[in-house]
Subunit: 193 residues, 2 copies
């Protein structure tokens, strides 16, 4: 493997820190800027350390890569083992999902009364970015598009997502349960190593 290009991740964090400093009051402009930074980050699969790309045999993994010290944004690598999938869930804050390796399906849902109604199903390939905004409906379920290999997407959220109190939904009844995701590891990459 080529030497890990940590500079790409570092540039992203510096750029996003500048963006939240500058654009705190303009969510539209912040998401625009964030999309550009995320596009650059996932344009090459040359920077993610192995420790943050490791699948678990049973559960998809959420590795925190960086949380802004003032919790204005967080960056997480989602690692899907073969066939793994999330429950149906929401986010409560804006999010951008950028595909880095493999592919995933994002199945949208909307609430109709008590029940859930299926919406669009998108397939994300490397370089693709999906935008999630609570104001536009942000309920979905995500799955690895592959049954025989690992996929990895890089998620950027407008908060410390691991601590956000959000919801999971029963696919049959639409019933909601509170959900706080946490993170899979007690370390994050040393950007300056």
């Amino acid at each position: 493997m080529a030497p890990q290009n940590l500079g790409r991740l570092r540039s992203f964090i510096i750029g996003m820190t500048g963006a939240v400093d500058r654009l705190a009051d303009d969510e539209e402009a912040l998401i625009d800027a964030a999309r550009g930074h995320l596009a650059a980050l996932i344009s090459e699969d040359d920077w993610l350390g192995d420790a943050f790309a490791k699948p678990h045999p049973k559960y998809y993994q959420q590795y925190l890569l960086h949380c802004d010290p003032l919790e204005r944004f967080s960056l997480v690598s989602f690692v899907w083992g073969p066939g793994q999938r999330t429950p149906i869930h929401d986010h409560g804050v804006w999010g951008l999902v950028g595909m880095l390796r493999g592919a995933e399906f994002s199945q949208a849902y909307s609430q109709r009364g008590q029940a859930l109604e299926k919406g669009e199903r998108r397939r994300l390939e490397p370089g693709d970015i999906e935008i999630l905004r609570p104001s536009l409906g942000d309920i979905h379920a995500v799955s690895n598009a592959y049954e025989d290999r690992v996929s990895i997407s890089i998620h950027l959220y407008g908060a410390n997502i691991g601590a956000v109190r959000r919801r999971v939904f029963d696919p049959q009844t639409g019933a909601e349960k509170p959900f706080v995701s946490g993170y899979a590891s007690n370390v994050v990459p040393n950007l300056w190593g």
Copy 2:
């Protein structure tokens, strides 16, 4: 061991981030604020994860705990194995050294012509803080005060110290060599885990 009080480290990082945001133009005030935050951080030895407290059999270890994304400050745990010591070195930026566990000696030096002259030797005990400022002379050598146990001090610097080009000195001749310390690990604590 009691559960790790990560909130103490998190509060420090949040406090220091606020301080550098607010006090960018006033180094005196920033160092005053930093001293208060560091004093609170080292007031209890209940928050440092074992992975960042691990000695190496031969070399003292410098574990990055946090670097401000804009490189305005960094926090490092220095782990001294029994009898370990640094070369004589400078810093190039302001620094605060807070003793967390065990004890250390800081032997000051000053340049007199080409040669080095010994200054004060301080012993730091848990809770003690030493301030280093280039404008006041910041050449020293640090050693574990113990030959039979590990000591740990927590260092706060006004830059990403691992990347600062600074100097080490030959104790006999005073000759200088350039020195960039780097860090001992490619991960840092997940403050939000």
